[in-house]
């Protein structure tokens, strides 16, 4: 792991989850964590050059008109291909996993008890 402080963006429209994840990562790693409740906000801050983005798959459950995770993934990959993206989702269908991987997600984490640990180990090894 390099000594530089990594910057992690957490994008999830569930405030409890994003808050907890921010809290968790901030404590377990020495990374700088920033949370966004919509993908659009995240896109607006891409000039801050995050290293890792934890991106919720379903970003428009609360705000119906918001872009969904795949749209944001596609958008980010277009402009900033080097950013590592962890897709976070309650879906565990293989085709969705394969689809996100195909679109350039580095990791796919299903929202379950071990989700945080998986994200942590990804962030540590990335």
């Amino acid at each position: 792991m390099s000594n530089e402080v990594k910057k992690i963006f957490v994008v999830d429209d569930d405030e409890m989850l994003s808050m907890a994840l921010e809290d968790y990562l901030a404590r377990k790693t020495n990374c700088e964590v920033q949370i966004f409740n919509t993908g659009e906000e995240c896109l607006d801050h891409m000039n801050e050059e995050p290293d890792i983005i934890i991106l919720d798959y379903n970003l428009n459950s609360v705000k119906k008109d918001a872009a969904d995770g795949l749209q944001i993934l596609e958008e980010i990959k277009k402009q900033h291909d080097h950013v590592k993206i962890v897709m976070l989702s309650s879906q565990d269908a293989t085709w969705i996993i394969l689809q996100t991987k195909k679109m350039g997600a580095s990791e796919y984490v299903v929202k379950n008890e071990s989700a945080f640990e998986k994200i942590l180990s990804f962030c540590e090894s990335a």
Binding site: M16, L17, S61
Partner: protein
């Protein structure tokens, strides 16, 4: 072929010549002529000589048409295109004026000539509709003129003779046109396939084609009649020419219509073809016409074969794609099926061998039985390999994170491999670095699998010497330890150029190796994947003839020996007697499997069992009798386990509808298990199962006492205390409810913040949040506030969903609240949320009822938590 080319070369200039009378003139000559005609026209107009004016107008129109034709032969630039269009517009304009003028003076010849120019100009400008309209006008004109003329008796015979002659030529033309139509239809059919047009479009086009061809026939008949009169008057073949021109226009219209629906290419080609026909007619070289048509037919054939070729290529590509998708799906289905088909009989073999071994066999029988058992294990191992690989490829393999002992794992590996080493007279050594903390957190089964794979592989390719599995500490930092595994053999070695291929599926260094050494060729590939999943990388060092070393490093959190003890106790001390007295219904279509389940249960516990062979019988028997539990096979004839569960959960009344149902399934695919849970099954036990798995699962779902030391299980003392407190607090509650709520009552008893007089059980439990926030009260309060703030909106959304009977919204809001319940330790509410989510997604009305319980829980949680912030 050569002759044909010469012919084409000879005919082409003629074609061009006939196309435009002025075509031999150069541009300057043309423009000079136009100038002259326009001057003359003005002069005639001034004089009032309408007839002469109409001639000049007609000539000017012709000249402009010639200019446009010349322009269309030159390079296609925007400027030229513009000039062409301007010329055409003028030509059309002058033609119309000429027609008007000649009509006034009754000059039919001039009218007809101008009409022809007009039609040609419109066609050239792409105005097919306009040209058709003009053709109609011309025809109408002729009709009006000729219908007023009387037929001269004397000339009738002569006319009839000419008519017969003409009919022949028309028939010929018609035949040619029909051939042409056929070709067009063939192209159309090909292109329709290629362009993936819908059958609607196809039939519409066919219909249109028929209509057009009918219209054409009709027009031809009409025209023939008209021509009779015309010839009487004119005594010339001019009418035939006009009729042909009109017919050609009709053909062109029909073709253009077809072509408009088709590609641009076909349109241009067909236009050329039609122009050719027109030219021939104008040229009056009827004898040559056939040849021209042939050329057209040939070019259409070339075009058709070209399009057919393109269509075939495209179709091929689509088919290949579809085939690939299909084969991927078939692969998945095949693996699922084969897994089930193999595991079901394996269940019977392993289960019954196990039962027989326990029935005091003679030493000889015992050794046979153990051999059967061992072979069955190997077979199971192979099928598990295949399944593992498919799961890894689909990204579905999940690793355990449990405390385990390295020395125990290495001992198991040695036990498994030692007989193979003994068979070959090889040494097998396993060593574990004593500086290593023995208990670590990870997946012992997958580690075991990798070591057995690599160790077995090493033994397989070693003839003398031995195999050493060496486990050492690479480093230790904080709570983590890096463990290095090395599998060292003194075998045949691997040539350097084969090392890279080593880890591919189904790969062995030489294909003859498969025959010599056996194996599926999957072991190394799976091992590599498994090591990578655990965060390591396998590396290989090898010298041919000396030996090979496989090594990898995996990082583990340091484990807890205490937790390990608890887990082992839970697994091993499966005391069947806790199931005593249960009435169990076993539904399985395979009699051997029923026997295994039945015998296993009776061997370990004093239970009552009934057996049925399908889901329908299970439902019927459940209606008639009372049971505590159903063990349900998934794939059964008549009614499968999923449908039976759905029926019980959906159609039967409490308490029978709530009976615990354990799926006994040979499938380990996630999708299949999801189906079980979605149908309402409570838990599942994989086949083949170990007795303790069955005991523990049954104990869990029937609320029987759990294994001592299992995590999150309340102690007896706690339980008694909780029960006593509850009995005092809520005597009105039924016994059933009490047992269902035991878990949460413990939380109530343990949380000092709650007054003892509470007449409900706590729905929240701060254990998780406390651990998560490391006891930091401030942080905890932050989460509680977020939770409380989200409640009003949740209430509102759920109320709206209930009112509108909106399943989608209901599922959405319940689903999105799950992380909050998890943080607030509301396990029961969360579980109910999962159920409501599933019910809503399957449009089950019960979701609207059950969500009300969630709302009650939410209200309770609000009261419990408000005091904390």
């Amino acid at each position: 072929m050569k002759r044909l080319l010469i012919l084409i070369a000879l005919l082409l200039p003629m074609y061009l010549w006939a196309q435009v009378d002025y075509s031999e003139l150069s541009m300057p000559e043309l423009s000079k002529k136009i100038e002259g005609e326009v001057k003359a026209m003005k002069a005639f107009e001034a004089k009032g000589d309408k007839q002469a004016m109409s001639h000049s107008l007609g000539n000017a129109a012709d000249l402009y048409l010639a200019v446009a034709r010349k322009l269309s032969e030159s390079e296609e630039t925007e400027q030229i295109e513009k000039a062409k269009q301007t010329s055409l517009t003028r030509s059309i304009d002058y033609s119309r004026k000429a027609i008007a003028a000649s009509e006034e003076v009754g000059d039919l010849d001039q009218m007809r000539t101008s009409y022809r120019t007009l039609i040609a100009a419109q066609k050239l400008s792409g105005d097919i509709k306009g040209s058709l309209q003009s053709s109609r006008e011309m025809l109408a004109l002729k009709r009006t003129v000729f219908s007023n003329k009387k037929v001269a008796e004397i000339e009738k015979r002569q006319i009839e003779y000419q008519h017969t002659k003409r009919e022949d030529s028309i028939r010929q033309q018609k035949q040619i046109a029909e051939e042409h139509l056929k070709e067009q239809a063939r192209i159309l059919a090909l292109k329709q396939k290629q362009l993936d047009s819908t059958s609607k479009t196809l039939s519409a086009t066919e219909q249109e084609k028929t209509n057009v061809s009918m219209a054409l026939k009709k027009t031809q008949t009409d025209l023939t009649m008209e021509k009779l009169s015309a010839l009487e008057k004119e005594r010339k073949l001019t009418l035939a020419e006009e009729e042909q021109a009109l017919q050609a226009t009709s053909i062109q219209l029909q073709n253009s219509k077809l072509e408009l629906q088709q590609s641009e290419l076909a349109l241009q080609r067909s236009k050329m073809e039609l122009q050719q026909n027109e030219l021939q007619i104008k040229d009056r070289k009827l004898s040559n016409q056939r040849l021209y048509i042939y050329i057209g037919v040939i070019s259409i054939l070339v075009l058709a074969s070209f399009l057919f070729f393109i269509g075939r290529e495209r179709k091929k590509a689509i088919q290949q794609k579809l085939r690939a998708e299909r084969s991927e799906r078939f692969k998945q289905e095949f693996i699922a099926n084969i897994s089930h088909e193999i595991r079901t009989p394996m269940n019977a073999i392993i289960g019954m061998t196990g039962l027989l071994i326990q029935k005091n066999p003679s030493p000889e029988q015992d050794s046979y039985l153990k051999a059967i058992s061992k072979s069955a294990d190997i077979l199971l191992h192979v099928i598990n390999d295949v399944l593992d690989l498919s799961k890894i490829e689909a990204g579905k393999l999940e690793l355990e994170k449990i405390d385990f002992s390295l020395t125990d794992t290495l001992k198991q590996v040695k036990d498994t491999l030692s007989y193979r080493a003994e068979d070959k007279g090889l040494q097998l050594i396993t060593t574990v670095d004593d500086k290593l903390s023995d208990v670590i957190v990870g997946d012992p089964y997958r580690l075991n699998q990798v070591l057995i794979n690599l160790g077995g592989n090493a033994l397989k390719f070693t003839e003398k010497g031995g195999v050493h599995i060496d486990v050492t500490k690479e480093k230790e930092e904080g709570e983590y330890v890096w463990v290095k595994y090395a599998i060292i053999d003194t075998g045949i070695g691997i040539p350097a150029d084969k090392v890279s291929k080593l880890f591919e599926s189904f790969s062995q260094v030489k294909s003859s190796d498969t025959r010599k050494y056996g194996g599926t060729g999957l072991g190394l590939s799976i091992s590599k994947h498994l090591v990578e999943l655990q965060g390591g990388t396998i590396s290989v060092e090898s010298v041919v003839g000396k030996g090979t070393t496989f090594s990898f490093v995996i990082r583990y959190p340091v484990g807890s020996a205490e937790r390990l003890q608890q887990r082992l106790a839970a697994e091993q001390n499966a005391d069947g007697t806790i199931l005593n007295g249960l009435r169990i219904l076993i539904a399985d279509d395979n009699e051997y499997n029923r026997l295994v389940v039945n015998e296993t249960l009776h061997l370990i516990a004093d239970v009552e069992t009934d057996e049925v062979v399908n889901g329908q019988e299970a439902v019927d028997l459940l209606k008639a009798n009372n049971y505590d539990l159903i063990l349900m096979d998934v794939q059964m004839p008549v009614m499968n386990g999923i449908d039976a569960t759905k029926y019980i959960r959906g159609e039967m009344k409490s308490p029978k509808k709530d009976i615990p149902i354990i799926a006994l399934t040979a499938s380990v695919l996630r999708a299949d298990l999801d189906l079980c849970f979605e149908s309402g099954m409570t838990a599942y036990v994989p086949k083949p199962f170990k007795p303790w798995q069955l005991v523990n699962t049954i104990a869990e779902v029937t609320g029987r006492e759990r294994q001592p030391g299992a995590p999150s299980t309340p102690s007896k003392a706690q339980k008694k205390q909780a029960e006593k407190a509850k009995a005092d607090a809520a005597k009105a509650q039924s016994v059933k409810e009490e047992s269902a709520k035991q878990d949460t009552s413990v939380a109530a008893a343990e949380t000092p913040a709650v007054p003892a007089s509470f007449d409900w059980e706590m729905v929240t439990n701060m254990d998780y949040l406390t651990t998560f926030c490391e006891g930091d009260q401030k942080r905890m309060q932050k989460y509680i506030k977020v939770y409380l703030n989200a409640l009003p909106a949740f209430h509102k959304n759920i109320a709206a969903a209930i009112e509108n009977k909106d399943f989608v919204e209901l599922a959405l809001h319940v689903h999105s609240f799950k992380p909050k319940w998890m943080m607030m330790g509301m396990k029961k509410t969360n579980d109910l949320g999962v159920q409501v989510d599933h019910m809503a997604k399957s449009q089950n009305e019960k979701a609207f009822e059950d969500v009300k319980i969630i709302l009650e829980d939410i209200d309770k949680s609000q009261k419990e938590l408000e005091g904390m912030v």
